[in-house]
Symmetry: C3
Subunit: 264 residues, 3 copies
């Protein structure tokens, strides 16, 4: 049984995700299809790239990942198939697979040839259904990765998912805000250890006029209503609020930055 994950900005209110699953199952009826998320901010490739990069390692080797945040659909933007660490990824060539290109493992990157398009002549704005889903199904069914198309070395990339130096320490980007109002940053545990050494868990973070100090293991280690910092599910620094929403208290957005420094 092949496992195929889906990451899109299609939402779940429309039939688009269901149609993609049908297009996969037409090629590989035994597929086990898992939704990663369909709530990527519409057209926000960077947001989708972070979420996919945070989640795909939870899946077993030989999983296929289809990602479609695709404002350029219908134009001549390329479509890519990428293979790395025993996983296979399909996505438009717009930076959506950026996290794979940041990894030390060198991925194999191929351009999907137009001949792999299905349903020619119906719509022109749904490559998730006409290109990516059926190709994932055929790869799951046993089609050779080499038959996807020619190797390339120049995929579209994004600004790095990594903190940058600042006057007082480092600045880390808020790359996602979850349902609970937790602010997810790019500052990984290994970055913090490398930058702040043994006292990496005694950092202070300044954001939107607030100052938070010290890392905790759980939200309820802080008094109710207080801000609290943890290492979250992506393995990076998150700013939360015990029994509340850090977003609602602080008012920051995806794309804003926080300032990290040693605690006094």
């Amino acid at each position: 049984v092949a496992i195929i994950t889906l990451t899109t900005d299609f939402g779940l209110d429309d039939v688009y995700v269901g149609m993609m699953k049908g297009a996969i199952l037409r090629e590989h009826p035994a597929a086990s299809i898992v939704d990663l998320t369909h709530a990527v901010e519409p057209g926000n490739v960077r947001h989708g790239a972070w979420l996919l990069g945070a989640a795909w390692r939870s899946f077993p080797p030989e999983t296929f990942h289809v990602a479609v945040i695709d404002p350029g659909v219908g134009t001549n933007r390329r479509a890519l198939a990428v293979r790395t660490e025993d996983h296979t990824f399909l996505a438009p060539d717009n930076g959506l697979l950026h996290s794979l290109f940041e990894s030390p493992a060198a991925p194999a990157i191929r351009v999907i040839e137009e001949a792999h398009r299905r349903s020619p002549g119906l719509g022109t704005t749904f490559d998730g259904h006409d290109v990516f889903a059926p190709l994932a199904g055929r790869l799951a069914e046993g089609m050779a990765f080499e038959d996807v198309g020619p190797l390339v070395r120049d995929p579209v990339t994004l600004a790095p998912f990594h903190p940058v130096p600042s006057a007082g320490g480092w600045r880390a980007e808020i790359v996602h805000i979850d349902r609970f109002g937790n602010l997810v940053t790019t500052a990984s545990r290994s970055f913090l250890r490398g930058s702040f050494g043994e006292s990496w868990d005694r950092i202070a973070v300044r954001l939107g006029g607030h100052l938070v100090s010290g890392l905790h293991r759980g939200y309820s280690e802080a008094p109710e209503g207080d801000l609290v910092m943890t290492i979250g599910s992506a393995g990076t620094l998150e700013i939360s609020r015990n029994r509340g929403s850090a977003r609602d208290l602080i008012g920051l957005c995806v794309g804003d930055w926080v300032e990290i420094a040693p605690a006094r």
Copy 2:
């Protein structure tokens, strides 16, 4: 492995969809169940009928489709099982399967006998769980379609999903508005070709005080913020806005109409 799709107005916040899946799996534990959508406007049978009609052909032959938008549940409205083009459909007899009755292929229509109800005596308002889901599971498990109940020829139908003539050309209904604010109409590519001939892609559409001309292959062929027309995922005319929402700009709703004429 049988594939079973679900289309309802239950939303995903409640446990109703999960309970339907349980009721399917009790009868056919190997079922591969796919959500088409659970965000049909509550009680809006016409909306559900369009979405199901737009999506089911993406699935392989011998797929089962369960659709439950059912404001008449608990009354003596009939329940139907329909077979057409190697697919099987289960739904209340309220027009929800209308698109099948518009197709040239003659479907076989059977009334589901009351004896197929499961869990008698628990609730009375959840035929999705007590009738449609378990029957889909049993059909998937191998039960003969003929054993569902007697053939009938008088299913409830709806107004046609087709443009109607108007003074200046044709009027097409907006049957769905998606997450991106794209306005989906009933004007299919084949209708446009049949009505406007070789210049079918040089039509003009008037809607809510706006005029849009020409068909494009992708949203980004228009300048950012401009309206753009494409053939969308249902194979019909859609009015969109590059990097924006046509709905938010124009302010129309499902059930409104657009005017189609040859471009000047």
Copy 3:
């Protein structure tokens, strides 16, 4: 094929649910995973306990149910595995499995030993991914229930899901409000029969200044816009509005109470 259900307050916008599914599939790639709901009110253990209790019996025997509403994650709150009526449940020890402890069948309750944690050293706030999901996968793969950890007899419990006597009859709690605005109460059919005898379907319910009388089998048995009472999908009394929302009309919330008395 093992069936595994998920009940959380994670929502579907984030990748958390997808990551849990990946963690299950790493241990048991053939798992058939079903979402019960991910829209439990954030941190509201009682709400989740009701929804899980209302839904799990729709699934076949030997189903595994993972439930994670977990405001105490990262602290020393215990994690439980419970077995009853041929189903297996995994959840934090905070009352989320309360409905199982109300049942006459005596469940076997074990504490999940810390050794079953996966991914040590990444995040600390996602036991759904690091503990509950992989353990469900291993149990589905054949691990013995006894190997989870030692038996205990003192799980955290909640206030009973049962009406309480009042001056004029009984008071029943509103434990859930669904997408349609139906108010779901704790008053089961068997409770009504036991308390009101043969005339159990001629009760009157007072709530928020409104009085509703008599039980119906379907919403449309009442005039459009009227309140109507039915036995809903959980087998309990629900107050609804034909072609409308009882919540929007009455303005009650989860946790409010209604008064049940014999009709005059």
